[in-house]
Amino acid sequence: MAEVLCANCGRPNSAQREFCDFCGNPLDGALRVEGKSGSQGNDLLDSQYPASMADASRLDNLIPAPEEENQPSSLGDFQGEEILNGDSRLESLFADQDDDLEESAQNDPGHDEALNGESRLDDYLPVEEPAADPEPATDGADDSSRLDEYLPPEESEEAPPIDIESLSADRQDDFSRLDGYLTPESPQDQTQPDEAARLDDFFADDPFNLLDPSPSEAEKEDPFGLNLDLFTEPAAPGIEPSPADQGPPEEPLFTRDDFLSDSLSEESSDELKFPGSIPESEQPKEELPAEPMQSNFPEPSPTPVQPEEEIPPEPIDAGEWGFLDPSPAAEQPEEEKPPEPIDAGEWDFLDPSPAPEQPGEDRSPESSDAGEWDFLDPSPAPEQPGEESSPEPIDSGEWDFLDPASADGDQEDLTPAPESAEPDAPEDWSFLDPGPTTDRLDDTGEQEFIAEGDEDDAGWLDMLQDPESRQQPESIPEPTAEPPKPQTDWLDKIKRLNASSDLVDEDSSFPDWLSVTGKTAEFKGDDSAQGPDSSSKEVPDWLQLDDDESLDEFLRRKDLTNEEYKPKITTDSLDNEGISVDEGAPASGQSDSQHIKFPSWAEEEKKKDLKHQGVHDPGGTKEDALGSAEPLQVEEGFFEDLFSEELPDWLTAASSKEVIQPVGQDLAQGELPGWVEAMRPVVESTDASGLDEDEDYIENYGPLAGIPGVLPAEAEIGIDFDQAVKKPLDLLATKNHQDFVNLLKKLIKDENKSRTIQLPSPLQPQRILRWLIAAVLLVTIASTLIFSGSVEMELPATARVQGTGFNALYEEIETLYDGQPVLIAYDYQPAAAGELHTAAATVVDHLMEQGTFLTFVSTQPTGPALAEHFLDTTQSQHHYIHTQKYINLGYLPGESAGLLSFMISPQKIIPLAYDGSNAWDSPPLISVDGIGDFKMIMVITDDPNTAKIWIEQVGSRLDNTPLTMVVSAQVEPLIQPYFRTSPRQLAGYVAGIIDGMKYEQLTERPYLASKSWLPFNIGIVISVGIIFIGGMANGVLSLFSRHKEKVIGESK
């Protein structure tokens, strides 16, 4: 059977009870217990607490009704003080439960001590703890020492490790139940009618609000991130901390500044006597054992911490504890310790202000693992965490930007109107509806706090407490039209809420950059001018929505509502403010500020512009509203831009504007409008063609179809240019103009002419002719060569010998004798070898006959090989041996430069012979120092340029050495000028086979030239015949073709 545990006294009540039978406390947020087993997931609590407390994880169940917060709690009784602030609820719960715990924890030494908050910390310890501790703590044992098991692993050798996995699982389970508490899916939450109150209650006790978003020194000092400072919070106001629990005075983990920063009001802080607020001078100083992590947790026991009682430190990962921290904070708020270092990453952004409604709750300077949400953290300066988190006017200097009233510098003038200008701001927090909690709107402490002008700091609470203002959707500005998205993610909900609640005045507790609605100042002023109805405390419907479905439904309705009110609000607001649309809404669309959201600085500029334009709020509250609300604005789309890649709203809004459709766009192309069609002339003709007598054309296509007499818009294909050109021009043109005209006519005329392309001569006949010529030459010459040996041929008699080149050469060779060095240059290509070998064979033979020492050199790469080949093929009968009768110096590079250098010093240029032997060791060459020491130089070449180089570079430097040549027939005309000079630059030469044959006749030793004379002559004859016949034929054909062309040209 379900029972309800009273959050105040902890005693079970019937489930049908609304108030506790024992203490009269409302059972709205009390814990419901199914049977006696308790929650299965609360293993940790089950092991430490009785069944009645096992399922006390739900924070709201543990929090007493707000009416009872002002009542002295049991803990207060125990402590002998009354707790008047919100913390008393937590403490009273502790006190009530302590009564039960005293019996259940008789065996626990920690419970033997005064039931302070720290003793309950043992309940968070793992179940295995008793077993893990071989020596349970005695009376003097400090319960806080059990924290030592979470200390660094340096001391872990003294105790067995704790099952971290199970512990983490337990913590995880607890944390999940905390999530269940925070989320509206909790079925119990849906049963509570006063949602806003419960939300308020939640935030009042929300440990996340207690978290100081700014990092503190204590956090930095905690290398493990265990945030043990949470356990150092005072157990209860007025409790004197034991010296054993006090941290080292030089490193106070909880200082007065921290306390002040955590207090929500100066008044409340004065009422509370937190140990942490005790000056250091008053706090008993006691040296704690050398523990890496010390706890300032107030401990009534004066006994110091005994090392042997310390729980062996577990090698606990700080990350695991960061994950586990929230669960104890949510499940056992009765323990008066500061908020656990909850991994409030998901909730940090929800903490726009540092829990102003909970002045009594200590806000630990320890920052939670909120790294992911630090950018949303409104705390600007971590160096003053206490002041940042304090909503007090005194300490809220740094939070002035959160205070709309303080922005104007006058909080006293702040009327409730600005608060009422934020009617729908709680929508942003609707998803945080914690479910069934006690209505705390009657909390006097909070009311006092709000009435003291700190409403702005707690603006987001104001919006919860001011439901009446939320009942005025007419004053809600139109948000940016954003279709509801079927998203269930909480962040998307925030976005949707932001988008749908664009009309909503921003929560004044939000800084500018956190403002999710982006409402502009003028609308705030407008809303603020709507009168005192904003002070209504009626809770809107949206606050009663707990689940996603209802929330989605609400969002959809909200979006539709916003769309409906959009135009009306815009104009009305402007009219009410006395701002004409033209004045107050320039081109930028100032009246559409709900569409275009400006950043804070832009809003400031806009506000200035309004002031300059004389715009004033008729109610006198506009400027106040501007000053109070504007600093709390956040550009709309901040979260959208932050979490999505969508375009900003102002851009989407601009793009979503309707485009004016041009007139006539619906008309189909090619169709005439009806009125044009009606004006269209109708052809009336008598004949079948439809043409009148004086009309020769009627249009058939296009819009002019059927209209006669129009100019045809046809291409100028059919135009006869000749006729057009022949038409006389009435222009006065000069002769040059006429020439240009004629030229243009010719060009135009030639373009129309088709050129007659003469087919090229067929290749096949040409090839046949070539092959025919080759065959004839080959057959005749080969036959003559074959049969020349058997045919005795009479050589022609030389008509003239004197003054010829071969004769001069012959005479030069005749002057040589045995052993004289003769330089022969083989500077011809192998292709000319047939002719030159025939011509030079008799000359070289003559030199060998004279017994000269031959030295071969060549400026051609193939020259040395040709020389060897020449000797092998033509002079083999002389049996010339290399280095004995001749020397082959090889290749001489550099052409003219090589010849010049060779002329200067041949031994240095070519020191080695062709075969690598010493070229100049031969006796004939020993006396050769220069090229002039050779007795004769003979150049065999087929290139006139080479012959010229030899003559110019070498011949000019020769004094007594004759320069002779054996050249091909084609070179003869070019070397004759050097021969036919006086003195001769060329001593003699033999040109071709003809001169070779003549030279042989001089030497009377017929040789190769004589042998090849007949074939040579036959070849000449055949060649001449082919050339002559072919030339004549081609000449005649050419004449005929010319005549034909001439005749054709004349005929044309």
Partner: protein
């Protein structure tokens, strides 16, 4: 700032070397300097020949890589080059090892491959020239072409010297053509070449022409 150092340096070197070599013709005492420069030029020319061979091989290797239409010829060329190189190196090694000239393989390659090929190419040129001479009047019928045509015939016929068929005046005409018009033309041509060479030399010495670049 972009300073072109290459141009003035190369120009100065070219002009300086040219002036020294030219002065060597007139000043005997400068023969030694001129000889050094000429000798350096010979080495560079020999290296240029090797560079040319490497360039030839590289070009044909690229042609083979491109698989163009004539890549087969490039392949043949490279194979021939490689074979010739191997043969030459082998002969050189054998010659230096044995101590006497032994270029039989190289001579065989030259005599049986390179020489016939080049001679055949010249023979083909002879046939082509003959065919061109026969068709010259068809392509162009004017005084110059007609004169060229008949001069060729006269010189060829004047070269023909078979006693039984010799036409004496043709040889006289041929000799006259060679001694008078041809000689005159050749001299004029040589003089023109000489003048052109001198002009070019002066331009190079003055730096007006920079065929070496820059």
């Amino acid at each position: 700032m972009n300073i072109k150092v290459k141009a003035p340096i190369s120009t100065a070197v070219a002009i300086g070397v040219g002036v020294i070599v030219l002065a060597g013709y007139f000043i005997p005492s400068m023969d030694s300097i001129r000889f050094i420069l000429l000798r350096t030029g010979l080495v560079l020319a020999a290296v240029a020949l090797l560079v040319g061979i490497i360039n030839l091989a590289t070009v044909h290797i690229k042609k083979i890589g491109k698989e163009s239409e004539n890549s087969g010829y490039s392949l043949i060329l490279l194979i021939s080059l490689l074979i010739t190189l191997i043969v030459g190196i082998t002969d050189m090694a054998q010659t230096y090892l044995v101590g006497r000239p032994n270029f039989q393989i190289t001579n065989w390659v030259f005599t049986n491959i390179q020489l016939p090929i080049e001679t055949s190419l010249l023979a083909v040129t002879t046939i082509s020239l003959t065919y061109a001479a026969a068709g010259i009047l068809r392509k162009r019928m004017n005084m110059f072409s007609i004169s060229f045509f008949f001069v060729v015939l006269l010189v060829l016929l004047g070269s023909f010297s078979i006693p039984s068929a010799t036409i004496p005046f043709l040889q006289v005409i041929r000799d006259w053509i060679l001694r008078v018009p041809a000689l005159g033309g050749a001299r004029g041509l040589l003089l023109g070449i000489a003048l052109g060479t001198i002009t070019t030399g002066i331009r190079v010495l003055l730096g007006t022409d920079r065929p070496y670049g820059g």
